[in-house]
């Protein structure tokens, strides 16, 4: 399509980040540099993950259409490193819980946006061929922002030493859900053969549910003491 189409996709992908950054008050905390640091951590963690995957996971050479369940599961397990990375970012920032969560999540999600979506958008949405997938990709980046905020919140709750015993289980469940969400989605799509718009919708609903749950937990936890 045209540069205008790229502009559309880019606005759709990027503006929610900008709005979130502005409205959450991070700008007043002078948090830009910290977000950049979080982004750098993201890069470092992804590099480690890639090295790990490349070293220990041979490429799957099964027949076409065959789903390598175990292999994919193991690969999803490597995403646990993301949790470590988020924890690392938050532990290096002093401040209130919300602030730490927002900085880590914003930096993390923005780094992901830049690293894994900007280039395909630039190359694809600007091409002659029109495809809805670039609009979908932009929506997907909005969803992943929410996802990372929820994930950072859950990680923050999990690593608190004053976490009440009764919270331990739900937080762990949420944490597992966060990590394996992509894997479960993939499995779901594979089993039910969904169209790309339905997948996006399901993803939005699932992410919304997880985020709402973590918000409940967070609110309860913060205001309980």
């Amino acid at each position: 399509m045209t540069l205008f189409h790229f502009g559309n996709c880019f606005a759709l992908a990027y503006f929610p980040y900008f709005i979130t950054y502005k409205c959450s008050g991070l700008s007043e905390y002078n948090a830009f540099w910290r977000c950049v640091q979080a982004g750098a951590t993201y890069l470092f963690v992804q590099l480690c993950k890639m090295l790990f995957l490349a070293t220990f996971f041979p490429t799957w050479e099964g027949g076409a259409g065959v789903y390598d369940f175990v292999g994919e599961f193991m690969k999803a397990t490597v995403d646990l490193a993301d949790l470590l990375g988020l924890h690392l970012v938050m532990s290096r920032n002093a401040g209130k819980g919300e602030y730490k969560i927002m900085v880590a999540a914003m930096g993390w999600a923005t780094a992901e946006l830049i690293m894994s979506r900007c280039l395909p958008l630039w190359v694809g949405a600007r091409g002659i061929e029109f495809d809805w997938k670039y609009i979908q990709m932009s929506f997907d980046s909005n969803i992943s922002l929410v996802h990372y905020i929820a994930m950072a919140a859950v990680v923050w709750m999990f690593t608190r030493y004053d976490l009440p015993k009764s919270y331990r289980l739900p937080v762990t469940v949420l944490l597992t859900l966060c990590v394996y969400k992509a894997f479960l989605m993939e499995l779901f799509v594979h089993v039910f053969l969904l169209g790309s718009w339905t997948v996006l919708l399901v993803k939005a609903v699932v992410t919304g549910a997880i985020s709402l749950c973590s918000l409940f937990l967070f609110v309860t936890l913060v205001h309980s003491n």
């Binding site: 709005i19 002078n30 091409g127 918000l215």
Partner: protein
């Protein structure tokens, strides 16, 4: 935020040069990166003929195509690529597209051309010369139908027909849901091919007994012609003529190896190139033989020149002459022998002589024998077609099923018998009319004929595609050397300053069909996105509301703790 960012960047660039390097180089690379060619569908297209003959341009003059697709039903065709299916193709539609200054025309041919209804084939055959008769500014392409292309055609058809009769809301909805297609060819502009050599092949069988033996020349042109060079397989015209010539060479080489059957005639076989371009190969061959050499078989004592053209079908044979042969000449003898063989052995075949004077004012010569006639050599053409104007001689529809091997074999037999009767002077020796020479071990081999036709129609043999190193030429040469002596190649190159023929390249290209949306769609999308972002902004602004609601819900619990 931006001030902070600029501060950060300032510090970054001041402090460390390598970092600048790392940030800037990819940025520049991304900005200058070419657009990728990731197409919805990619297919091969064959361009219409483009050539100049005697300074006169013919065919399409353009190769570059980058426009949106429409079918001919759409109201506005200007600067659009008009796609048509062969089944719906007509000259009026083609003319309509040209009149409305369409950007290009793409004609979709069905995969199996021999299964087409006969009337469509006939109609298209007659249109081909009309399309080529004048020059066309826009590119005209032919594509082979497949499922993807058909779906592109149907989608274009629905969007083209529904235009104009809709309300504004429907049009808006339509732009969001329907697909347009941008057709793009990847090749460059067509340009003249310089120094193209047309190859012709010659071989002979020498007779015995005396110095100044009469010579019989058998000629067939091997190239094919159609509206698109890459689609012209030329089965009947002139794959059949070539196969007959090769079979005659085989039979007479056998006869000429035995002393008792070695006759007093020289046989000269000539496979000419560029036959569809006013017999350029023959013209040069005659010039070389008559003007530039001292001794040549063609200079001394030529009995007659027999040209073979379109012999693979039909139940009639026509001997086309430009001057009725006089009694007593060997031409007349061959005519009589042909009549005799046909009447006594194949009564179902209608044989006749067709007389047409050479019209020098015409741009194109009618038959190959006229080239010889101009140089005062006694010549005629044998064909099953009654007229040189028939479209079968220059059509892409002339494919393998157009040749009936049985009839081809029968025609070969008739020619061979008649020639043998002339060479051995059998009628004067009192041989009966139904005497068959080519029987048993000497019989015409239909497998051989069908193999040659099969091989010739396996690849397009347009004059623009057969260069001097091509497999067509080398295989023909190999066949000739098996039976004949002194096989020679002759090359024709057009004169540099005043070329008689000019060919152009870019005849086969890859075309991409990109799915596109109209510009209004972008605007519509922008409005939708702006609305979505506005909602997002409000939602994030009022996140506190959600937060307090959640808090209210959880509050009673915390109190009971």
């Amino acid at each position: 935020m931006f001030e902070e960012a600029s501060e950060v960047f300032d510090n970054m660039f001041k402090s460390s040069f390598p970092l600048t390097f790392i940030v800037f180089i990819p940025a520049v690379l991304i900005l200058v990166s070419p657009l990728p060619a990731e197409a919805a569908h990619e297919f091969t297209v064959y361009r219409m003929q483009q050539y100049d003959l005697q300074g006169q341009p013919y065919g399409t003059r353009n190769a570059i195509l980058n426009t949106e697709a429409r079918t001919v039903e759409a109201e506005v065709l200007s600067r659009r690529c008009v796609i048509m299916r062969l089944a719906d193709f007509s000259y009026e539609k083609y003319q309509k597209a040209l009149r409305q200054s369409a950007g290009a025309v793409v004609i979709i041919l069905p995969k199996n051309m021999s299964a087409l209804p006969q009337d469509i084939v006939q109609q298209f055959m007659e249109l081909e010369p009309e399309m080529l008769a004048t020059e066309t500014i826009i590119p005209v392409y032919f594509a082979m139908e497949d499922d993807e292309l058909l779906s592109i055609y149907t989608q274009t058809l629905t969007s083209s027909t529904s235009q104009g009769s809709l309300s504004a809301a429907e049009v808006l909805l339509h732009t969001a849901t329907a697909n347009g297609f941008q057709m793009v060819t990847s090749g460059a502009q067509s340009k003249a091919v310089s120094d193209w050599a047309i190859t012709s092949l010659e071989g002979r069988l020498a007779g015995v007994g005396g110095e100044d033996l009469p010579t019989i020349v058998v000629v067939a042109h091997y190239d094919s012609f159609g509206v698109a060079p890459w689609l012209s397989y030329g089965a009947d015209s002139n794959g059949s003529g070539v196969s007959v010539l090769l079979e005659l060479a085989r039979l007479f080489s056998k006869l000429y190896t035995y002393k008792r059957t070695h006759a007093g005639y020289n046989l000269l076989f000539f496979l000419s190139g560029g036959g569809k371009f006013n017999y350029q190969g023959t013209k040069r061959w005659l010039e070389d033989n008559l003007d530039h050499t001292d001794s040549s078989l063609l200079q001394d004592n030529v009995a007659f020149v027999l040209c073979l053209d379109t012999l693979g079908n039909g139940d009639s044979l026509h001997l086309h002459v430009s001057k009725p042969p006089k009694e007593g000449t060997s031409q007349y003898q061959l005519l009589k022998e042909l009549e005799m063989v046909v009447s006594s052995q194949y009564p179902e075949v209608k044989f006749s002589m067709v007389h047409k004077k050479i019209n020098l004012a015409d741009d194109m010569l009618a038959w190959e024998h006229e080239r010889f006639g101009i140089r005062r050599l006694p010549a005629f053409t044998l064909s099953h077609l009654p007229s040189h104007r028939l479209a079968q001689r220059s059509s892409i529809m002339d494919v393998r099923p157009h040749v009936d091997v049985k009839k081809l074999g029968r025609n070969t037999k008739i020619v061979a018998e008649a020639l043998a009767r002339v060479i051995y002077n059998l009628t004067e020796k009192g041989a009966p009319g139904d005497l068959q020479i080519f029987t048993e071990q000497m019989q015409v081999q239909e497998e051989q004929l069908s193999a040659v036709v099969e091989w010739l129609t396996a690849q397009p043999r347009a004059a623009q595609l057969v260069d001097k190193d091509s497999s067509v030429v080398s295989t023909l040469e190999y066949h000739l050397t098996r039976y004949l002596k002194d096989v020679k190649k002759h090359y024709v190159k057009a004169d540099k300053r005043d070329p008689e023929f000019v060919f152009y390249d870019q005849l086969k290209q890859t075309m991409n069909a990109y799915r596109v949306k109209p510009a209004i769609f972008d605007l519509l999308l922008a409005v939708c996105i702006a609305a979505y972002l506005g909602v997002m902004y409000l939602a994030i602004q009022n996140f506190g509301v959600l937060y307090s609601v959640v808090r209210k819900i959880t509050q009673p619990k915390t109190k009971t703790h």
